[in-house]
Symmetry: C2
Subunit: 298 residues, 2 copies
């Protein structure tokens, strides 16, 4: 058995882990992938345990933070039109909130915009389904995060029979065109489908029911949805099959191990930001002249 | 010389630090306080060094996070109308951005709304000065953070002669009435005025000028404002004298030591949240019955 120091977490450099590009490749949806057959306990691209995964994630947070600050700084120049939109979907208790807290939470709040989409309010329901979505798009230089999204207007609409089949079926095309227009306008759309096993969900819902400080996270409808497990699997499969595009790819992330999902999503975000080639913007002033002015003002 | 372990930060329990209520009392503005005379290197309520301060801050983050989650959870019940609004003001480089990153950044992004107010855009300038402010108010259950705020419509308006004196002078009353209406509607307004010395500002601006990755944080107007140091001191004093109210108090926070300002502001936020008496909300379901349903669904 390997001997580890008690306090210092093992350095991630010692752990075989796939590069951001490689992790993205491994988890990217591809035609023919059977969503229901994904091993939800797997850790593609990471050969290490929970402790090593957490340590690797902490180190990656620094990389992600640096990239975010570059994205933000460039937008300040006024001539930069890029943003990133992370869309999180998955069953109840699959860990979407945890990703917001632990992945997005590692970033400076200045450049982040989080929107959680619940059951539409009366005002939202009286508009086109993309109305509330457009209002929450990230501005340039920001990372936007959707905790649930316009995909609920297909998924929940279908499962809860909120609209006739003809309506939600027509939304695949609408969503594809919408996301293409985002990409055309400089918003890099990264879609993550978290997937957990039925057993793992039972454990998580049980935890919410057994702890009074977690009751607020539970709704009886969570169990009703769970009883429709297979129908949901089919609905997720259809969403993946019909809306995975090069300009807005889906990543299917095994999420029984929370630490893995967080590590993997961080790497996917790093991959997408690295492709933006984010150099620090140059100022529109002469630093030497400004330093002289500064000295004169002492 | 004291011997310290190399890795483990000293526990804050060993360091004499004032309670959240006491820190709030110490830093709270009071009539007669001379803003220009505040010792910007002081650490009221904390008897320890930077390392101890950072360790104490890390521990406090846990407390603040717990309170924020309770605030957020209560709002989910739909019968709860409380929020907190943190207003950050201070000279250029006084550390407002750092507070957003390190104090607010410790919270789950779900329940936080950060708004940075810059020079008004054309659209903003064509509206009442509170128009853009109202749009960024936190919803109930959230902590809102204003990095600069409606006070710029008094401060910048005055210093840069953007409007006639009669106009910005009239805004003290407008702002007081506005903040009173927020308090009446359940929004706890906490206003923080960070204060640094002229020497410390020179060091920070120099750092921004000497590092290419910090140029984007610098604007030549920062030095012009610095050259009006005393006039700004007077403008800050007037804001404090005229807008410090029980329903929307100002806290004057010495900020030459960044670690101190962050620790102190965290304690002030904890103090305000603790006064809200945030119990965990009870669910509108029977946990035992739901657990039975859950078991049946396995």
């Amino acid at each position: 058995m390997e001997i580890r120091p008690a306090v210092v977490p093992p350095l991630a450099d010692n752990v075989p882990q796939a590069s951001p590009a490689e992790v993205s490749r491994l988890l990217r949806f591809r035609k023919g992938l059977d969503f229901g057959g994904v091993d939800t306990r797997a850790t593609p691209g990471f050969e290490g345990d929970k402790l090593a995964g957490r340590a690797a994630h902490v180190l990656d947070n620094e990389v992600l933070s640096d990239l975010q600050e570059r994205l933000f700084a460039n937008a300040r120049t006024g001539k930069f039109v890029k943003a990133l939109l992370l869309v999180l979907q998955g069953r109840d208790s699959s860990g979407k909130g945890g990703v917001v807290k632990h992945v997005v939470g590692a970033l400076s709040p200045h450049g982040v915009h989080v929107a959680a989409f619940g059951v539409p309010t009366e005002e939202e329901a009286s508009h086109h389904f993309l109305w509330r979505i457009y209002r929450e798009l990230p501005r340039y230089g920001h990372i936007g995060v959707f905790d649930r999204s316009h995909y609920e207007d297909i998924l929940a609409a279908r499962m809860h029979r909120l609209v006739p089949p003809k309506v939600w079926k027509g939304r695949y095309d609408t969503v594809n065109e919408f996301e293409e227009s985002l990409a055309d306008s400089g918003i890099d759309v990264v879609k993550v489908m978290l997937t957990i096993s039925k057993e793992e969900q039972a454990e998580r819902l049980r935890d919410r029911l057994e702890r009074a400080d977690k009751h607020w996270k539970f709704a009886p409808s969570d169990i009703a949805d769970r009883e429709n497990w297979d129908a949901y699997t089919e609905a997720f499969q259809d969403v993946l099959d019909r809306t995975h595009k090069d300009h807005a790819p889906w990543y299917v992330v095994p999420a029984d191990r929370k630490w893995y999902a967080r590590w993997a999503i961080t790497r996917i975000l790093v991959h997408h930001l690295e492709r933006m080639d984010l150099a620090w913007p140059t100022g529109s002033f002469d630093p030497e002249a400004e330093l002289a002015r500064l000295e004169a003002s002492r």
